[in-house]
């Protein structure tokens, strides 16, 4: 049986330990190990994805124990999509950090490997406690990444994030304890079968605790206050990874727990979808308005992420398979757009020595290539027609229109207007002539090699975001299959229980 599902987790772990061991060895060896490491993981993911697309969902019993006894790893369409995000994200992050010299920060690559291992662990987990452990690992690593710069503001933001994360993990642990007490097992498929044993009151509290605990990770509105400061504190490279990959891990965990484990596709889900729809609309409004009045580039991009989390919630909340597929597709696109924005924004911030937007006059003149990348991905994230952002927003709008929900549609349209307003603000400043070059502090001049590496990464990201609308139809059919499998977990359970003790 192929050991791919577990290798996807174990290989980054091995390289995390190896590269920290290599800390004591000459830097050439360390660079070699890190290089091999970040090539091997995407290779495993590609093999896993191709195997899954050919042979259908994969099942792996860790430790050789059958379903309810040991821990199960299961790879289906949904986990394949998010694994692709992870593999691409971390591969580009390594390339980008090598080329822009952030690689010199010690242990950055150890944390990148740990992040890869923990998020791929979440993506293939078939067991809720295993999902919880890897979520916690992601949290600890993210806290460290936020406080990596050890300046005044990042450290406080890391502390605030840590308190938020502690509360979120406590809520999730309470939910897991209640689920175990009611159903007697920790494997997702078994819980889904025996969920009816739970008294309705505790089922409601478990559902809410899961939504709120993962809402904190994704950025549901009343719980999002930590995000802007955490992204501002972390370097742009890390912020790109946070909003592109780590937030998507939260979305995946939410989808998996709500649909597969708690059976949200079932009868009493009208209330949940109504709540998600309302939460999504609030997110869109708060995110865009927050970004409009934000004068710090990274915080503005953070609020824009909150708004796009709103689009995903609205997609899920529409309650139809098409809406769910559109939401997953939007999550997939959002990675490419937001990471490109953060990573091209980094050069403006480095060039102007501050991320204060009014100081960014004339960046189009001093960083033309980066500005074009920033401009294209901003176009895409706002949702201008030929781009990927528009494609997913269009599909979400269609799903809403199907259910006749006009209000979220207006929120989406208004969101487009406001989001373009605050991106246009930067274009206006960027195109003008930079007056105050005289005050002496010249931005960090980046070497040609640095810019070339980063530009290559950004070009690939922008290429996707511009060409996504023209991909063949069966590229999108994977998303539809994922949505279908989420809403009908029956088939998912047969696979898991196939080898089970019955």
């Amino acid at each position: 049986m192929s050991h791919l599902p577990v290798l996807v987790i174990v290989i980054p772990l091995i390289f995390a330990f190896l590269s920290s061991l290599a800390g004591f060895w000459p830097s050439a060896v360390r660079r070699g190990i890190v290089g091999v490491g970040f090539l091997l993981h995407p290779l495993c993911v590609v093999l896993l994805v191709s195997r899954m697309l050919i042979r259908g969902p994969l099942l792996y019993e860790v430790g050789g124990w059958a379903a309810p006894l040991g821990i199960m790893l299961l790879v289906d369409e949904l986990s394949v999509i998010f694994l692709c995000i992870l593999a691409l994200g971390m591969f580009f992050a390594f390339l980008y950090s090598f080329s822009t010299g952030t690689a010199r920060q010690e242990k950055l690559h150890v944390f990148f490997f740990l992040l890869t291992a923990s998020i791929s662990g979440q993506m293939v987990a078939g067991d809720i406690f295993n999902l919880f452990v890897f979520l916690e690992l992601t949290t600890v690593v993210s806290i460290a990444l936020v406080a990596l710069k050890k300046k005044r503001r990042p450290v406080i933001s890391a502390f605030v994030y840590m308190v938020y994360a502690a509360i979120s993990s406590t809520l999730l642990l309470i939910a897991i304890a209640l689920l175990y007490n009611a159903t007697g097992t920790l494997t997702m498929a078994h819980i889904a079968q025996r969920i009816s044993y739970m008294p309705p009151a505790s089922y409601a509290v478990v559902l809410v605790s899961v939504v709120i605990s993962l809402g904190i990770k994704i950025g549901l509105v009343p719980l999002h206050f930590w995000q802007a400061d955490a992204y501002d504190g972390a370097g742009s490279t890390v912020a790109g990874i946070f909003s592109g990959v780590v937030m998507k891990a939260g979305v995946y965990a939410l989808l998996r727990l709500i649909f597969t484990v708690l059976g949200a596709g079932g009868a009493h889900s009208r209330l949940l979808f109504g709540f998600l729809l309302m939460a999504g609309c609030i997110n869109i409004a708060a995110g865009h308005i927050g970004a409009l009045f934000q004068l710090n580039l990274k915080k503005m991009l953070a609020f824009s992420s909150i708004a796009h989390a709103g689009y995903i919630f609205v997609g899920i909340g529409s309650g139809t398979a098409a809406g769910l597929a559109a939401a997953v597709f939007h999550a997939f696109n959002h990675f490419f757009l937001k990471t490109a924005l953060f990573w091209s924004g980094r050069f403006f911030i480095a060039g102007k020595r501050s991320s204060f937007i009014p100081r960014m006059r004339g960046i189009a003149v001093s960083f033309p290539a980066m500005f074009i990348m920033f401009f294209l991905s901003a176009l895409a994230i706002v949702g201008i027609p030929p781009t990927a952002g528009f494609a997913s927003k269009w599909l979400i709008a269609l799903a809403l229109q199907e259910r006749g929900l006009l209000l979220p549609l207006v929120f989406i349209a208004a969101g487009t207007v406001v989001s373009l307003w605050y991106y246009a603000r930067i274009f206006v400043l960027a195109v003008q002539h930079p007056h105050e070059t005289g005050n002496g502090i010249q931005g960090a001049r980046m070497t040609k090699r640095q810019a070339a590496g980063a530009l290559l990464v950004l070009m690939v990201l922008c290429l996707y975001s511009l060409s996504a609308a023209f991909f063949p139809q069966d590229f999108y059919s994977v998303f539809e299959a994922a949505a279908f499998r989420l809403r009908e977990p029956a088939e998912y359970m047969e696979i898991l229980l196939a080898g089970a003790l019955q």
Partner: protein, 481 residues
């Protein structure tokens, strides 16, 4: 997936596409000769913006489905924004660019919503007319068209942003912006209220134009009134109305661009735009004066000039009725304001100490070409393919065109100079309101979010908010589950 598809338009829209391309090239030549950036870094950015603007106009016309039409709109919006920002050094440029992009994107957003609803009703993206005009799709698309063609209450962006751009790029801006809106109305809308909206636009456009004392503001208001004419044509049901509307658009592109070029040449030479300080240029710039007269005659609808032919078609399509009379009053007003323009810029005697040279050669060549076009379409209208058979030069039709112009010149003789050239108050500055609003809004929210909510209270309050959210939703779910 959603794949934009394109197809060559047939009939008169083909002519419109050809004119779009030719005018794009000519106004590019004009722009290169007028602004001094040449191929510096800023010049490159501006050139790409100009080219993308032309590309946007062409995509909109070539569009075979709503998505590519939306692509055209967005390209126009974005490139127009960059043209206005990139072309001008003076301060107000960016503020008006903001306003321009805001209105354009609100138009695109409402078009997007309209298309979504239209698509879900008809399950196809083809550019078909929205059948029951009263559905929300029709309302959204009508609002988008009204915004794009700067219908009267929503016209602030055009009047503020066109004059704010550098005079060299104004002709190019005037070609594409509003005509794409008229084309969208032609393909998507068949709303009975459209002609009356057009008539209202034409009337109020002319009345406000008379009050203006800046040359390019006057021309911008006239764009609004001429587009009102086009909407009358397009709004009238039936082939004749749409043909008349599109033909008027074709003519209008030519003579309006010529007018902007003439004024551009004047600004290029004297650096002055205000009618009250201009004058006496007839002697120094004879050729520009000649082209200015030809263009004014065309826009006013004098027989043997292009304006007359398309207005005649419009009058025949609308038939006797309130639209006919509004059109005659508006052509009287247009005639009056253009007599004022020609008099104030060229004829009024003003002693000048330094000699003012004629406009540079490339500008004159382009203007000559356009003037020739308007005269030819005026004299030989039947030469143009796809136009219905129509006897333009019958006695009563020429009379109905000349009478309002005669009335206009009489009005000018009696009280023109005194009334129209006094300085007026600058009128309502919408963009000022916008930036004040944004400033106040930022202060309000800044104090709300940054000062009170964040620094005084620590993150513990936010954790409290998170817990209350959790408890509240839990109670809600427990009760309703």
């Amino acid at each position: 997936m959603i794949r934009p598809s394109f197809a060559l338009p047939q009939g008169l829209e083909g002519i419109l596409l050809a004119v779009f391309i030719v005018m794009g090239v000519l106004s590019l030549v004009y722009a290169f000769s007028a602004y001094g950036y040449g191929f510096s870094r800023r010049g490159l950015l501006l050139n790409t913006a100009l080219l993308v603007h032309i590309l946007g106009g062409i995509t909109a016309l070539l569009a075979a489905d709503c998505i590519s039409l939306l692509v055209g709109w967005e390209l126009l919006a974005f490139s127009g924004f960059f043209i206005i920002v990139g072309s001008t050094e003076i301060r107000p440029g960016p503020r008006f660019a903001y306003e321009y992009i805001a209105f354009q994107i609100i138009a695109a957003a409402s078009l997007f919503t309209g298309i979504v609803i239209h698509y879900s009703a008809t399950q196809s993206l083809a550019l078909t007319v929205v059948s029951p005009a009263s559905t929300p799709a029709g309302v959204f698309i009508l609002f988008a068209v009204a915004l794009k063609t700067a219908a009267m209450p929503l016209h602030f962006w055009l009047v503020d942003s066109y004059p704010a751009a550098h005079f060299s790029v104004s002709p190019l801006l005037s070609v594409y912006g509003t005509k794409v809106g008229v084309y969208t109305a032609a393909r998507l809308l068949s709303v009975p209220v459209l002609p009356y909206l057009g008539a209202f636009m034409a009337l109020t456009g002319v009345l406000w134009a008379l009050r203006q004392h800046s040359a390019r503001k006057l021309l911008s208001y006239h764009i609004i009134s001429q587009v009102g004419y086009m909407l009358i044509g397009v709004g009238l049901a039936g082939e004749a109305g749409i043909n008349a509307g599109i033909f008027h658009a074709v003519n209008h592109i030519i003579y309006k661009a010529l007018l902007f070029m003439v004024i551009g040449a004047v600004i290029y030479r004297t650096g002055e735009e205000d009618l009250r300080r201009l004058g006496g240029l007839g002697r120094y710039m004879p050729l520009t004066f000649l082209f200015g007269v030809i263009a004014s005659a065309s826009i006013a609808g004098l027989p043997f000039f292009s304006g007359y032919t398309s207005k005649a078609l419009l009058k025949s399509a609308s038939g006797p009725g309130v639209l006919y009379w509004i059109m005659t009053i508006v052509s009287a007003g247009t005639g009056l304001s253009f007599i004022k323009l020609i008099y104030a810029v060229f004829l009024r005697p003003r002693p000048r100490n330094e000699r003012i040279a004629e406009a540079p050669a490339p500008m004159l060549a382009v203007m000559a070409g356009l003037a020739l076009c308007s005269v030819l379409t005026g004299v030989f209208p039947s030469r143009i393919p796809f136009l219905p058979e129509y006897r333009y030069y019958t006695a009563d039709r020429m009379l109905s065109a000349v009478l309002p112009l005669a009335a206009a010149s009489l009005m000018w003789l009696f009280f023109g100079r005194k009334l129209l050239l006094r300085d007026h108050s600058p009128g309502f500055q919408f963009s000022g309101l916008l930036s004040r609003l944004q400033g106040k809004g930022r202060l309000l929210l800044k104090s709300l979010v940054r000062e009170t909510l964040y620094s005084v209270t620590s993150f513990q309050v936010y954790i409290l908010v998170a817990l209350t959210a959790w408890a509240a939703t839990a109670v809600l779910f427990i009760l309703r589950m």
